[in-house]
């Protein structure tokens, strides 16, 4: 991993730099397009609600001899026509069959048929009933929690960073994550269960965690930015994003690894269930969250902060001064890079020798 550490070193020193903040329009447009697409998907395709949202009957057949899913459909057809059973295997010897709401008679009948079909005793077939509003209840509470959380978090972030633009940038990034995650669900058609809602809510905390880390560095880099003229606010912020890039990648990878392991175990060993549902939504959300904390949150914060007249003025000042220095350096035949040091230009231990000395203007310009 030497190359990765080198990559981090270069990013830190500014030797290698990605102009993320400068090209923010590109990312904004990309993010917006994806969000609109996701919104359209949500609007037209819609989400695939699980049984907790649809309501219906659910049968769990344990100690099965086989996991053949078509048996359940055959059994269901004998009881009622025109219904499609949603069959999934849970664990190694359990089959879950979901149907639309059945009457008590039908439920009893189907239980027996399922026991017969899967070679178990009727005691191993449990049936349950889910009202159509239970899932909505969970979601209703979740939405309520979401709104309260967002309000509180805006207050906390504004207080902590002393800049409302940071809270706004973080929230926009969060919105981006949520819409895209929901869009992926609409696109692929994964089932929405209460566990999915749980996972969805966790993305909030996680996405913000990443963003707070980046913003903390931005704040550090741009502390007293108006008191110097070497770099603009945007350049300082961009350096922060670059410097925290390795950190963002590392934290994301480390956070995603356990999620991926749950997803793996859940999908291949356990089948449908709480673990898989939570992990799936988190997996998508974390990836999107990492992307947004790098490409959306900070650029958005910078874009918002640029509306501040003080920053505007400072930008102009820095750019004019820099242009003047460059033109002066060019006039003297020095490389432009030697005077336009940027945000990361000064490092402890380095010395710029004569270059640091005040320059005489050429006679012609005096």
């Amino acid at each position: 991993m030497a190359s990765f550490a080198k990559f981090g070193n270069d990013l830190y020193s500014g030797r290698r730099s990605y102009d993320i903040v400068g090209k923010r329009r590109v990312y904004f447009i990309a993010g917006l397009v994806i969000m609109v697409l996701c919104g359209l998907l949500l609007g037209f395709r819609g989400l695939n609600p699980g049984i907790d949202f649809r309501g219906g009957s659910e049968f769990t057949v344990s100690n099965t001899q086989t996991l053949d899913q078509s048996l359940a459909q055959t059994a269901l057809d004998e009881v009622v026509s025109d219904q499609v059973a949603r069959v999934s295997s849970v664990g190694s010897s359990t089959v879950r069959v979901q149907t639309e709401s059945l009457t008590e008679e039908q439920t009893a009948q189907l239980s027996e048929l399922l026991a017969e079909a899967y070679g178990t005793t009727p005691e191993d077939v449990t049936s349950s009933f889910v009202g159509p509003t239970w899932g909505q209840d969970v979601t209703g509470k979740a939405v309520q929690g979401l709104v309260i959380f967002l309000v509180l978090v805006s207050v906390v972030m504004t207080l902590y960073f002393r800049r409302w633009t940071m809270a706004a940038g973080a929230l926009i990034a969060l919105l981006h994550d949520m819409v895209i995650t929901a869009g992926v669900y609409a696109l692929v058609g994964f089932e929405i269960t209460p566990a999915t809602v749980i996972g969805f809510l966790t993305i909030l905390g996680y996405s913000l965690y990443d963003t707070v880390v980046v913003f903390d560095k931005v704040r550090e880099n741009t502390d007293g930015v108006t008191e110097q003229t070497r770099f603009t606010y945007a350049e300082g912020a961009n350096l922060a994003v670059n410097q925290t890039l390795v950190r963002s990648i590392n934290t994301s990878v480390v956070a995603v690894l356990p999620v991926a392991s749950i997803l793996f175990v859940g999908a291949f060993l356990l089948g449908a269930g709480t673990l898989r549902d939570i992990a799936l939504v988190l997996f998508i959300g974390m990836l999107v969250g990492t992307f947004s904390s790098i490409f959306i949150a900070t650029p958005m914060q910078v874009a918002l902060y640029h509306r501040n007249p003080v920053i505007k003025e400072h930008n102009e000042k820095v750019l004019t001064l820099r242009e003047r220095r460059i033109s002066e350096a060019e006039a003297e035949g020095l490389p432009a890079a030697s005077v336009a040091t940027g945000a990361a230009g000064l490092r402890a231990g380095s010395h710029r020798g004569q270059q640091a000395q005040p320059r005489r203007r050429p006679k012609s310009k005096r």
């Binding site: 550490a5 070193n9 359990t94 889910v130 929690g145 707070v212 356990p258 060993l269 709480t274 490092r347």
Partner: protein, 685 residues
């Protein structure tokens, strides 16, 4: 010193948690494993939404509903049922194992509040065949004074004629309501002290047989049943008739007590908790055999006269005497609806005429259990009544509040809609738990492997920190499951696994900050401290956001979301503890070792690896680069050793060496600084 002290404090914390748990499991009934929620242990979960027609359901009513459910479930022998309200609107009932449909129906059925006339009252026990035998040997008019003097509340038939003194004295033994009597607010207090009724009718002669309050000893259930049948079968035809001998003229008519009712009454054992489960389903048109709520008396009650809906409200208050001054006696004030008030007036009119026979009592029956059986001495009109206790055994405030709550609850016919019913087999739960743990171990392994790849030697800190965090989490969850009844659910397990990554994130933030400082050219010891002071802020801010999310989710959420939010919040707090009390002190301690402190190639803090090649100013604008801090340190150490050796020989150090770097312990940054300043001074000269 400081890192060791912090580590010791953490060790103390761990010992405290596990010591407490160990002690609890050794000497208490605690366990060393956390309690498991339904989806891991197997069982049935019902989610019920209470609803009342056109009325808001208050928190106290939900609490009362939960109390009644708990009473029913516990009495039906289901152990460890958990009933709680969630999100303010739902009641979650968790029953372990695979409960029968009857239990599930029992939980769901609505509790009815009904007012019935008391036909007769007796002690809680079953009929005693021995006493019956004795009774038959003796004359019917046995005084059975010994039973009366036993102070037991057991009283029926003639024995109950002990009167109010008897009842009042029994009240402290749990009969908060038995001695109560009702009167209209403007009523004469002289109404107190009326006798409890001797039951009238054909059965009169047999009733003393029922007097023993204790469970008859040494008799089989068959013998008791036989005795009860014999005693109940008054016409001696060998069958128990189910129809009243004569048409009852009023709800207080003892003709309601048929042979069958009598038989049931004899057999009813109110000392058995199973009979105190309540449960609906009593026929309002028929007489009822019921226990008192505390199981200290049993009653035969006439048909229903008032329904719970006839009650407008009830509240606990201090009584006002005739002079209009407030006394220090707690009473329950009962307000009827206009229709209810009319009905109540009629009932009291009838009951007031029965004072002489002592049958002037009515019972307030909630969920088939008598919660209060006050006597009536006067007609109570105006739709307002007051239930008070005799002065010898006054109500406490808690008693009146409880009674008022029950009345209020009963006044609203709350029904429960089943929102979801979920059954999880125990084997599936175990499998889910095992797979969850497997996923956690895989996740942990992957995180450690990635850490090793990224942070080399520092990965050992990550691993140890995660182990400590795991130990703390396990300890806290077990402790919390003991203390507040927390149950680990599958969603909680998922939260714990995800927490591995989020906890490790804090270490990464810290390590990266530290590396940033090394890249800036700082000495390792300084990098650790400076990196920490900056990372700490970031970690605290991020964790605060996470904790906020967890708290909001926990307070608002329903169902599984709660379990997840709980573990999320808990692990966030533990993350902060571990980073502050373990990871940082550990790094502080490690950086003093040669391996880490010298920036060994595999320590993860190798300045060369981190590209900390600080250019060295050679003077006159010339910069010499390419030499790493580590190299310079090594060179400096070598030079120092040489210098020492030469000094021993009386020689001096090589003049080419920068003066600052002669000192091996000098930090690289300051070495540069001194090199710079010394060359600067050279330039000045």
């Amino acid at each position: 010193m400081r890192p060791l002290r912090t580590l010791t404090a953490l060790l103390f914390l761990l010992v405290l948690v596990y010591g407490g748990l160990g002690a609890n499991s050794l000497w208490g009934k605690g366990a060393m494993t956390p309690g498991l929620a339904l989806d891991l242990e197997g069982g049935t979960q019902l989610i019920l939404t209470p609803s009342a027609e056109g009325a808001q359901i208050s928190d106290t009513q939900i609490k009362e509903a939960i109390r009644i459910m708990r009473q029913r479930v516990n009495a039906s022998g289901v152990s460890e049922a958990e009933i709680s309200s969630q999100g303010g609107t739902n009641i979650v009932v968790q029953l372990p194992g695979n409960p029968s449909q009857e239990t599930i129906d029992l939980v769901q059925s609505a509790a009815q509040l009904r007012f019935r006339a008391v036909l007769t009252e007796a002690g809680p026990g079953q009929i005693d065949p021995a006493a019956l035998q004795e009774q038959q040997d003796q004359s019917d008019g046995a005084t059975s004074g010994d039973q009366g003097s036993s102070g037991d509340q057991a009283s029926s038939g003639q024995d109950a004629t002990g009167g109010s003194g008897d009842e009042a004295s029994a009240a402290p033994s749990g009969g908060t309501v038995a001695g109560a009597h009702a009167r209209a607010p403007e009523d004469d207090p002289s109404a107190e002290g009326t006798d409890a009724p001797p039951a009238e009718g054909d059965e009169d002669g047999e009733q003393p047989t029922d007097t023993p309050s204790e469970q008859p000893q040494g008799y089989t259930q068959e013998e008791i049943e036989e005795a009860a049948k014999q005693a109940a079968d008054t016409d001696g035809d060998g069958t128990l008739s189910d129809t009243p001998a004569t048409d009852p003229t009023s709800p207080s008519d003892t003709a309601w007590i048929t042979e069958q009712v009598m038989y049931d009454f004899y057999l009813l054992d109110c000392t058995d908790p199973a009979n105190l489960s309540g449960g609906g389903g009593d026929d309002p048109e028929q007489p009822l055999v019921a226990c008192s709520q505390e199981g200290d008396a049993k009653y035969i009650l006439g048909p229903t006269e008032l329904e719970g809906t006839d009650v407008a409200s009830a509240n606990s208050a201090l009584a006002t005497n005739e002079q209009g001054t407030v006394t220090n006696q707690y009473v329950v004030q009962l307000n009827f609806t206009s229709a209810g008030g009319e009905k109540f007036k009629e009932v009291t009119q009838r009951l007031a005429t029965l004072v002489s026979s002592g049958q002037n009592r009515f019972a307030i029956v909630l969920d088939q259990l008598v919660i209060s059986a006050p006597s009536v001495d006067n007609v109570i009109a105006g739709g307002q009544a007051e239930i008070s206790a005799p002065p010898t055994a006054p109500f406490t405030q808690d008693q009146t509040i409880a009674l008022a709550n029950q009345l209020n609850y009963g006044s609203l016919p709350i029904t429960f809609d089943l929102r979801s019913q979920e059954e999880i087999s125990a084997t599936l739960g175990t499998e889910q738990l095992e797979r969850g743990i497997l996923a956690g171990l895989i996740g942990l392994g992957l995180v450690v492997i990635y850490s090793v790849a990224q942070y080399r030697g520092l990965a050992i800190v990550t691993l140890l920190s995660l182990v400590v965090a795991g130990a703390l989490t396990y300890g806290s969850i077990t402790a919390l499951s003991e203390l507040i009844g927390y149950r680990l659910s599958l969603a909680g397990v998922a939260g714990l696994i995800i927490a591995i990554g989020i906890t490790a994130d804090s270490f990464i933030v810290y390590f990266e900050r530290m590396r940033d400082e090394v890249r800036e050219g700082r000495r390792l010891e300084d990098a650790v401290e400076l990196g920490w002071s900056r990372a700490r802020r970031t970690i605290l801010a991020s964790d605060a956001v996470n904790l906020l999310a967890a708290v909001v989710l926990y307070t608002l959420a329903v169902g599984g979301v709660r379990g997840f939010a709980f573990t999320l919040g808990l692990t966030t707090v533990i993350d902060v503890i571990v980073v502050m009390m373990f990871t940082h002190p550990m790094v502080q301690a490690l950086v003093r070792t040669k391996f880490f402190g010298d920036g060994h190639r595999f320590s993860g803090l190798d300045p060369v690896h981190l590209g900390s090649t600080v250019p060295i100013y050679r003077g006159r604008g010339r910069v010499r680069t390419g030499e790493s801090i580590a190299e310079r340190r090594r060179a400096a150490e070598l030079a120092a050793a040489q210098a020492a050796a030469e000094r021993d020989e009386g020689g001096s150090a090589d003049g080419d060496d920068p003066p600052g770097s002669a000192d091996g312990d000098d930090p690289p940054g300051s070495a540069d600084g001194s090199a710079l300043s010394s060359t600067g001074r050279k330039g000045d000269r």
